[in-house]
């Protein structure tokens, strides 16, 4: 008994849409079953996880706040993943972007430096993330080092740098020895879009990134270059697209967007540097990128869905005493279901009795 996958020649758009819906329903059913096994009511869990956050204005804002960094990072990752380059280290690029941007915030803290501080911080954030992303890209193009390993390992380096800074040189002297920096000045703070709201301008950056990326990937030669590099690398070389230049470009772009997410989060949401500035956005963004099928609009939707599981997970922990790990498990289940649905749209599954012999 074995499986055989044969490509379907006529996978329609309708089938793909239907498969996505089916994947979500299946994921919810599996998660409901797990919750039932844990002795809780799946109905109550669905209410807490999905319905309550969607019906409460505060939660809706929170949804956007959480979706913002994931959307920004995942959009950047789409550039890499389309070209079949595996940047697993967006979390580190996010951290270094936040650190470099915050450096300016801390340098100007308490001075009357004006309006230019914030834009410059954002630019520094992008540069920091891009440079951190270029390290694995350079190692790959120069020495052929596998980018998956280097980008991942650099995450830990970045986190330790941040940890050192907030415990050492950048610690707030009046902070009762807590490992955190001073609170940023208003000039170094990314303001909310609405006067009393919580959603900061990072959400606008994410929206711009989605639109620009939709045009770049769909309508430009550069977008086609990435697709060709990913689908047929030899044909890409034949087309005259240098694979080294492609590698450096996509790592710089995805690192830059991750860095922008990092500095936006610190200056718009947290307001200071502390040892932990991300609940793993950089890693979750990988899930988001694939849930959104590396399509900018899809990524936007996926980032909202995954943000919902974060918020729902927090309230489920409080209201139903369900462990927070369940959130990650659900994200995993969702991704598996979407990928499985994708495979079933692209391939016909056949059960063969035995290896084609006598």
């Amino acid at each position: 008994m074995r499986f055989e996958l044969t490509p379907r020649t006529n996978a329609s758009t309708m089938m793909r849409v239907f498969a996505s819906v089916a994947a979500f329903i299946t994921a919810f059913l599996i998660a409901g079953f797990v919750i039932w096994l844990m002795g809780r009511s799946p109905i109550a869990a669905f209410d807490v996880y999905v319905l309550q956050p969607l019906s409460d204005p505060w939660s809706l804002q929170e949804l956007l706040v959480k979706a913002t960094p994931m959307a920004l990072i995942a959009i950047g990752l789409a550039y890499c993943f389309r070209a079949n380059l595996w940047n697993i280290g967006a979390e580190g690029q996010y951290v270094i972007g936040a650190v470099l941007g915050s450096w300016l915030a801390l340098r100007t803290n308490g001075t009357d430096a004006g309006f230019w501080v914030l834009p410059l911080m954002l630019v520094l954030g992008i540069i920091g993330g891009a440079l951190w992303g270029l390290i694995p890209a350079f190692l790959k193009t120069r020495f052929g080092v596998n980018e998956i390993l280097t980008s991942l390992m650099l995450v830990y380096v970045a986190q330790l740098i941040l940890d050192y800074l907030v415990r050492g040189p950048w610690r707030d002297p009046k902070g009762f020895n807590f490992p955190q920096s001073v609170t940023f000045d208003p000039a170094a703070t990314l303001p909310p879009i609405l006067e009393s709201g919580r959603v900061h301008y990072g959400a606008v950056f994410a929206a711009i990134a989605v639109l620009v990326t939709a045009v770049v990937l769909g309508r430009t030669l550069f977008g086609y270059r990435l697709k060709l590099t990913g689908d047929a690398p030899r044909a890409a070389r034949f087309a005259g697209f240098s694979s080294k230049a492609t590698t450096l470009a996509v790592f710089a772009i995805s690192g830059g967007l991750a860095g922008l997410a990092g500095i936006s989060e610190v200056s718009g949401q947290i307001g200071q540097l502390q040892p932990s500035i991300s609940p793993g956005y950089g890693f979750t963004a990988i899930t988001v990128a694939f849930l959104g099928r590396l399509n900018p609009i899809g990524i936007l939707v996926a980032s909202l869905v995954v943000a919902l599981t974060f918020i729902g997970g927090e309230s489920a922990q409080i209201l139903l005493k369900l462990p927070l790990d369940l959130t990650q498990a659900f994200q995993g289940i969702l991704l598996m279901c979407v990928l499985a649905a994708d495979a079933m749209v692209s391939y016909r599954i056949r059960f063969a009795a035995r290896g084609g012999g006598k």
Partner: protein
């Protein structure tokens, strides 16, 4: 190895009427072949003659469309390599399947069934190494080994399973002459012990050194079974490439003008283990003519194509001049802007992206610029270009703008050649223009190439199909082990002379080099 010798008169293996059809293409056409116990039997033929199809059928990798395999006189079906091995077949492929990071013993153990523990493998390895003079250190990591040593692993792996028939596919292609001589000694010993060997090659000297019987394939058919020691290299070469001398061209002679391509003293080191170095290549292609480059596969054709196209750069700009401009160090796109166009051998994945639509595939040689403007894709223009290629080159498509992979080989080849010709290039370089293409498409492609030349472009065709070159080329050279022969008018070549150049025995004036 040691085997119950079958009753005399019954061959160990007998293939009867083996036929394999791929669409319109007959890769094997009613092949009969028999191998006696203890015999070293050569399978000779040019590339594309059907040698690998035949051994893949014998080894259970592909299923024949018709025909019968008899093993010691009994009809058998070989459904998979596992079944082939159970029957007593062993195969050493041209390209090794080894894990670089694992040790020699581990590499052997992974290929064997579970009964073999690492220590039994180690013991047995020592024993076999000793018996056959195949020195191997069980604990060395494979990545530290030479090509010859890696091949020994593959051979030992087969010998551990006591094969009755060992198949070797172009085994000396990666070996130094000394390593090759060592291999021959081992094969002689195996044969003396009763193990049959099917030896696939296009190198005459080797075959004459090893074998007493050789089956020669040409275009999927057996053309002769001979004793290679009793036939001259000339006779064998003639059998391999076809005896009939090509018809002399009758159409009006062309009037070549300026030099469109000049290659002078181009040398390049091999790109990898299986690569071929290019040695001091000189070549001129003039506007209005078709230049043919003949040769058996693996003699530097792909390397030459990569050097001419700019996928690999020469170290001197003057090594290659396109339209008089030194361009040896220019990338492929810059060369396209000088008026050059290229069609590589491999359609799927090299000249076209299989999962992309034809309109997107026009972007691959996008220097034509009409499908993009300042970095933006003009999708409608791309669709228009794709449509006009489809119409002018009679590309049969299942739908309006299908994915490249949905086209048959012949139709996709018409498309990628059309994509370049439609740009009216001053220089077109094509590698294997009609490889694996049906006769109708091949005819159309050759006609299009000749027409382009007659309109004043220079066309360079690299091909292993001699008939094709005799049909379309005005001048021709032969590439052998990275060296290009002199470029002579087609009328001065005979097939025999080409065959000898291909086998590298031309200098001996028909005489055969003894090994």
């Amino acid at each position: 190895m040691k085997a119950d010798v079958p009753p005399s008169g019954t061959p160990l293996v007998e293939l009867k009427g083996i036929t394999k059809r791929y669409g319109d293409l007959l890769a094997n056409d009613g092949i009969d072949l028999s191998i006696e116990a203890g015999e070293i039997h050569a399978l000779l033929g040019e590339n594309g003659a059907g040698k690998s199809t035949l051994v893949k059928i014998l080894y259970g990798v592909i299923e024949p469309s018709a025909g019968e395999i008899r093993w010691e006189g009994h009809p058998v079906t070989i459904g998979s390599p596992v079944e082939a091995r159970a029957l007593g077949l062993g195969m050493v492929f041209q390209h090794f399947s080894l894990f670089d990071e694992l040790s020699v013993a581990e590499n052997i153990a992974v290929a064997l069934s579970h009964e073999w523990s690492l220590s039994t493998v180690r013991d047995k390895l020592a024993e076999i190494s000793q018996t056959y003079g195949l020195a191997l250190d069980a604990d060395r990591a494979v990545w530290t080994l030479s090509a010859g040593e890696r091949q020994r692993i593959e051979i030992v792996r087969c010998l551990l399973q006591n094969p009755r028939l060992l198949i070797l596919d172009e085994p000396t292609s990666v070996l130094t002459p000394q390593e090759a001589e060592h291999l021959f000694t081992t094969l002689d010993r195996l044969s003396a012990e009763g193990c049959s060997i099917l030896y696939i090659s296009h190198k005459l000297e080797e075959v004459r050194r090893l074998c007493r019987r050789a089956t020669i394939l040409r275009a999927g058919r057996v053309v002769a079974t001979i004793d290679p020691r009793a036939s001259s290299a000339r006779e064998i070469a003639a059998l391999m490439v076809g005896t009939a001398v090509g018809e002399i061209r009758t159409d009006a002679p062309h009037h070549p003008q300026g030099e469109t391509l000049r290659v002078s003293h181009l040398s390049m080191p091999p790109a990898g283990l299986h690569g071929q170095a290019l040695r001091d290549i000189n070549l001129v292609a003039r506007a209005g003519e078709v230049v043919g480059i003949a040769g058996v596969a693996g003699n530097g054709q792909s390397e030459l194509f990569a050097a001419l196209s700019g996928e690999r750069l020469a170290d001197r700009a003057e090594a290659i001049a396109i339209n008089g401009k030194p361009s040896g160090t220019m990338g492929i796109d810059a060369r396209r802007r000088l008026g050059a166009a290229f069609v590589p051998e491999e359609r799927l994945g090299h000249s076209a992206a299989p999962t992309h639509r034809l309109s997107e595939n026009t972007l691959i040689s996008h220097a034509s610029a009409e499908v993009s403007r300042s970095g933006f894709i003009l999708m409608n223009a791309a669709k228009r270009v794709a449509r006009s290629i489809v119409q002018s080159f009679d590309v049969r498509t299942p739908e309006g703008d299908p994915q490249a992979r949905k086209l048959s080989g012949g139709n996709l080849q018409k498309f990628v050649i059309g994509r370049e010709i439609i740009r009216r290039p001053k220089l077109l370089i094509v590698d294997q223009p009609t490889w694996g293409v049906d006769a109708g498409a091949a005819r159309l492609i050759r006609q299009a190439l000749v027409d382009l030349a007659r309109e004043g472009s220079a066309v360079v065709i690299v091909s292993q199909d001699l008939d094709e070159l005799f049909e379309v080329a005005d001048r021709m050279a032969v590439i052998h082990q990275g060296t290009l022969s002199s470029l002579r008018p087609i009328g001065e070549w005979t097939k025999e002379a080409v065959g000898l150049e291909m086998l590298g025995v031309a200098q001996g004036q028909g005489g055969v080099h003894a090994v």
